[in-house]
């Protein structure tokens, strides 16, 4: 399977094609995807199926998307939600 490369908060991450952003980051050891809105607590993947919205990130400066159900594309620049 061919690989894709993207960036998360400046870090270069490689993933297999078709992987979700969340799965690729988890495999790379990244657990915290953002800080919570009010208390600033670390948050990452929780439900893994698009229900909880805890894993939201920005892709290429776009609106927030759920990392766990968003497929990563080669060259994506992903930033914390």
């Amino acid at each position: 399977m061919s690989g894709v490369t993207f960036r998360f908060e400046g870090q270069s991450i490689t993933a297999s094609e078709g992987s979700s952003i969340g799965a690729a980051l988890w495999a790379a050891g990244v657990r915290q995807l953002r800080s919570s809105r009010v208390l600033g607590r670390p948050r990452g993947i929780y439900c893994g199926i698009g229900q909880c919205y805890d894993c939201v990130v920005h892709v290429n400066d776009g609106p927030l998307v759920r990392a766990c159900i968003t497929t990563v594309t080669d060259g994506d620049v992903v930033t914390s939600g």
Binding site: S36, P42, C52, D54
Partner: protein, 425 residues
């Protein structure tokens, strides 16, 4: 899938809408090739994957008007008959540290593994209650994850009660035996009558504290991930939007769609099958789907399938009784424990409102924003319902719920504008 095949085999033109890219739901995830192939080659079936229902309204006469979002945008489907099989999501209960990265639902661990081949951790505890923990723990173990413990809140004797419930159901009994055998073969230590009372870590989970339900016997276990789940919550929002009658569970914070023996809901031309009529697993869901598909096509349901449904429902009732939510789950909450993850609402904020005499979860939501965030109460709503009932001394089904969502998924303003001529009733 079963309903689509049953209806199409009897002459109906069927559109199958699935919000996932792969058919088969969260459990199968496209790994059940036989029905997928049969649907793919059926001339009367159109399969639309990666397509979500935004909302559905009852149609004049029978059936429903659905607003759906697919790869090609939003559109309205005029359906003279509609079968809802919207499934369920996992029930979460807050505890100190449950929002730390690395603490996930069992379903998240399974989704990462099945869909992406990614292991949730190297040293993992699986905890909560119910039979879903078995395949998750054994599945992770066979993928090379060390399951340090399977922490089951129910006492050991729960297994005997379930065995009795499965007696009349050879297929389910074999499935249960397979999963339990896999747990035993992987040498996973099972800690019965225990719960995770806290997760510790800086920016990710580093350990969990396991204790008996009464708080005694505390023991800290080093982990790099913890999977905690308390059963399932039927996804009733589309059915509720249609006005289908529901039945509230007497002790769990869930409600199910009421159906008759033909799987018909209270709304003409709208049928329901699977988890939304009662948590029961894939066997029950497929049987109900087959019955509903036949009924939609004006045929008699196959008698053999009616028998399967009856047995599966009996087994589901046995599981429901054997794996209750432990009464003491609230005791471990600390004032600073986050209840609503989206809006960072703490247990202190919730108890303050309940102490003011407010015993309705929608009023609590209005007061402190618990359930008002991105997930629309999908995660905290059931827990808030349980907590409110317990604190206010009222039945679980008498404090309201947060499952009313006019839009099952959030549409953009642009999508609503694109719909133009559509006027909801």
């Amino acid at each position: 899938m079963s309903a689509a095949l049953a209806a199409a085999d009897r002459g109906l033109a069927v559109t199958l809408i699935d919000n996932s890219p792969l058919l088969g739901g969260q459990i199968w995830r496209g790994t059940n090739p036989e029905p997928v192939r049969a649907l793919g080659r059926h001339e009367r079936v159109v399969v639309e994957v990666s397509t979500s229902v935004i909302r559905a309204d009852a149609r004049d006469g029978e059936g429903a008007l659905l607003i759906v979002r697919g790869p090609a945008g939003v559109r309205v489907i005029d359906a003279p008959a509609l079968l809802l099989a919207t499934g369920a999501s996992e029930l979460s209960l807050p505890f100190p540290g449950w929002d730390l990265p690395g603490v996930v639902t069992p379903g998240a661990a399974q989704a990462l593994l099945k869909a992406h081949g990614v292991r949730i951790g190297a040293r993992v505890v699986v905890a909560g209650t119910g039979p879903f923990l078995w395949p998750v723990a054994s599945g992770l173990a066979s993928a090379g994850v060390r399951i340090v413990a399977l922490v089951e809140a129910a006492p050991v004797r729960a297994g005997a009660a379930v065995a009795a419930g499965l007696a009349g159901h050879p297929a389910l009994a074999a499935q249960a035996a397979r999963y339990l055998g896999a747990v035993a073969r992987a040498r996973i230590p099972v800690l019965s009558g225990r719960v995770i009372v806290a997760a510790h870590g800086e920016d990710r989970v580093e350990s969990v504290v396991v204790a008996r339900s009464d708080g005694s016997g505390r023991r800290e276990i080093a982990v790099d991930a913890a999977c905690v789940g308390w059963g399932f919550v039927p996804a009733v929002e589309i059915a509720r939007g249609l006005g289908c009658r529901e039945v509230a569970h007497p002790v769990r914070p869930i409600s199910t769609v009421a159906v008759d023996a033909a799987q018909r809901t209270s709304v003409p031309g709208v049928l329901a099958a699977g988890e939304i009529t009662g948590i029961g697993g894939a066997v029950k869901a497929a049987a109900e789907g087959t019955i509903a598909g036949a009924v939609a096509a004006g045929a008699e349901p196959p008698r053999r399938v009616v028998t399967v449904r009856r047995r599966a429902a009996r087994s589901a009732a046995a599981f429901d009784r054997a794996y209750p939510i432990p009464a003491g789950w609230l005791d471990g909450l600390e004032p600073a424990t986050v209840v609503c993850r989206c809006e960072d609402v703490t247990w202190q904020q919730v108890t303050d409102v309940i102490a003011d005499g407010i015993a309705d979860v929608r009023a609590i939501k209005g007061q402190v924003r618990c359930g008002m965030g991105w997930c629309q109460g999908r995660i905290c709503g059931p827990a808030l319902q349980l907590a409110t009932a317990a604190r206010a001394g009222r039945p679980v089904d008498a404090v309201g719920d947060l499952a009313t969502r006019p839009f099952a998924i959030a549409p953009t303003v642009g999508e609503l504008a694109d719909l133009g001529a559509f006027r909801p009733r």
